[in-house]
Symmetry: C2
Subunit: 350 residues, 2 copies
């Protein structure tokens, strides 16, 4: 009998979501069972289909149930039949905000054997951890429209940044940097233009940094950072940044490490006041849904991030090692496998 | 005697600014003289030195004089000794805003012979034109701070978008797209999160697009666009986007086409109510200033963009062809040349 049981809410979502989630769970269970951890899953149907049927994105009753879980495992939501923003704001962002996922953790790592679109980079050149703020900034939803549809229309969009919100994610990032061999933290912002928010971020990093003298601190404007991700990715170890800049640079991070098929993410409430949520960075890819063509690797790596959060880092490392070995084999034999074959192979390796 | 004389204000600026501007002018004159265009320059000392001496970034009298010119040619401003934002907002952005440079034009082109950090891309894979809005959005400078220095501090940063401002840049972008062989325009925004501004941009593109039935229109979230710049740059022809997204993606554009040493830009007032300003995308690079090491190519290409604006496209093409030939030779012989040698070679080729 398992020493501990984790109650996990599963949201397969739309498109390839259910396919990749199934493999993620397969590998998760293979890894956790070796560490006396049982996973008890409850599935929730949320996403495009629910919205079409009921007009709801996240019924209150479901939100209340989700809250009773230790973590949430999500595939992907979204479909071209749903207007842009409805599911993003009504479901994904609502979960991030309601469950106070103030750390959006996105490892950017080039696995051996994976082809990067960058010429001549090796795995040791790209190994960073982006700590993206997840609950404020330009994602606050603040703003408005005046005189809509007239030549005098004005639309505003307001970024809201609080010392409370910035400090907690900056502190998390410093703690992560302190644990890593290079002990380097780079703040990415645009303080020469976004002066109000930028100064708050800069000052907070400076002040929290006093508690981490071993961590060297760097600053990079977001435009330069976007460039360096492409031509000098080795500059970065841990990166801390705001919600929108983090959204953009982690997609560059995904691009340089072989694409969003491999990019994992955790929406984390480090205080464990609410369940954290783990999901691949990719979307629901309706064009290839139901064909067994989706690569479940990003979802599997998100499961590893979840195991770290659940306090079983050994199990997380096993999954990462299995992925690493699998990607190496893939580079050698080049065989095309289905979604579930990749899941089976990873589970067997774990 | 020249048929026409252009009054050009020259702002060499800081660091490598004066070195690259000298070469830019050399090549500019070589090209324009062949088309009966005389360039009459007046130099203005603006930048870090002036600020240290007088505390001023743009004296009103200088601003008034600059206004009397047809165009402004700028090297680079900025120095580590000046606090972040002072010269950016007090000089660069002030000129862009005061002179209503609503089009920030940034060609992203891979020249033959130039090494891209992307594996396996050829010049025909990267040939786009980014039309970045230059006078509003998150650059408005709106926002504020409450309870600074307390745990309850809040900093806001507001993006201001007007139908007037969006429509004119969108119309410019459509006109550019209509002139190009592929006739494709991609709007880059983040309308699923920045819903107020995003909807205004989307609607404006749709409405103006009716006037350009021959242009095919595409939309891309900024995070996906950042990724596609790296792994599918061929998707893009003309891109239209807001001030901040344009800042970020054009630096990725610079990275994939060989770095900011080659990236040109024009801050354009298409209505010619005010002088337009042409400058390389790179900064003042104080570490290599005064050593003849800076590559003047980005500045030279900015001069070409200026000649287009001044209505002498044949002269602009000559400069671009000279740059293209020079970069090819550079790839072959790999000889290290000084800033002025590169300028001499380009002037000779023009
Ligand atoms: C779907 C969207 C709202 C989301 C975001 O912008 O955060 C996505 O791009 C991501 O990065 O997780
Ligand atoms: C220097 C800075 C204010 C400027 C900008 O943000 O526009 C620069 O990055 C650019 O792209 O020209």
């Amino acid at each position: 009998m398992a020493a501990r049981t984790v109650k996990l809410a599963v949201i397969p979502g739309d498109g390839i979501g259910s396919e990749v989630v199934a493999e993620g769970l397969k590998v998760l269970e293979a890894a956790s069972s070796q560490y006396d951890l049982a996973i008890e899953t409850t599935e929730y149907e949320l996403g495009a289909r629910l919205w079409h049927r009921t007009g709801e994105t996240l019924p209150d009753s479901v939100a209340a149930e989700l809250r009773q879980h230790e973590a949430i495992f999500l595939g992907a939501v979204g479909d071209p039949s749903v207007p842009s923003g409805v599911l993003e704001r009504g479901l994904l962002l609502r979960l991030r905000f309601d469950f106070d996922h103030y750390v959006n953790l996105r490892p950017v790592r080039l696995y051996p054997g994976v082809e990067s679109p960058l010429a001549g980079v090796a795995p040791e050149d790209i190994d960073m951890l982006v700590v993206r703020e997840g609950t404020e900034g330009p994602y606050a939803g603040a703003g408005g429209v005046l005189r809509r549809g007239t030549p005098h229309e004005i639309a505003t969009q307001d970024s809201v940044n609080t010392r409370f919100g910035v400090e907690r994610v900056v502190r998390y990032a410093f703690a992560k940097a302190a644990e890593r061999p290079r002990q380097k933290l780079t703040l990415v912002h645009k303080d020469n233009v976004l002066t109000f928010a930028g100064e708050l971020w800069q000052r907070t990093v400076k002040e929290v940094g006093v508690e981490y003298p071993q961590v060297s601190v760097d600053y990079c404007h977001v435009d330069a950072a976007a460039m360096f991700f492409v031509n000098q990715p080795g500059r970065f170890d841990v990166v801390v940044t705001d919600n929108l800049f983090g959204d953009i640079i982690t997609d560059i991070g995904a691009a340089i490490t072989g694409g969003i098929g491999l990019a994992a993410s955790g929406n984390i409430n480090p205080d464990k006041t609410f369940p954290s949520m783990f999901e691949p960075v990719h979307g629901s890819a309706p064009d290839i849904a139901g064909q067994g063509k989706a690569d479940p690797t990003a979802t599997v790596l998100s499961a590893a991030t979840m195991l770290d959060h659940l306090g079983v880092p050994e199990a997380a490392r096993r999954i990462e090692d299995a992925v690493s070995a699998d990607l190496k084999t893939r580079a050698q034999d080049g065989a095309v496998r289905s979604t579930s074959q990749i899941g089976d192979d990873l589970a067997a390796r774990v």
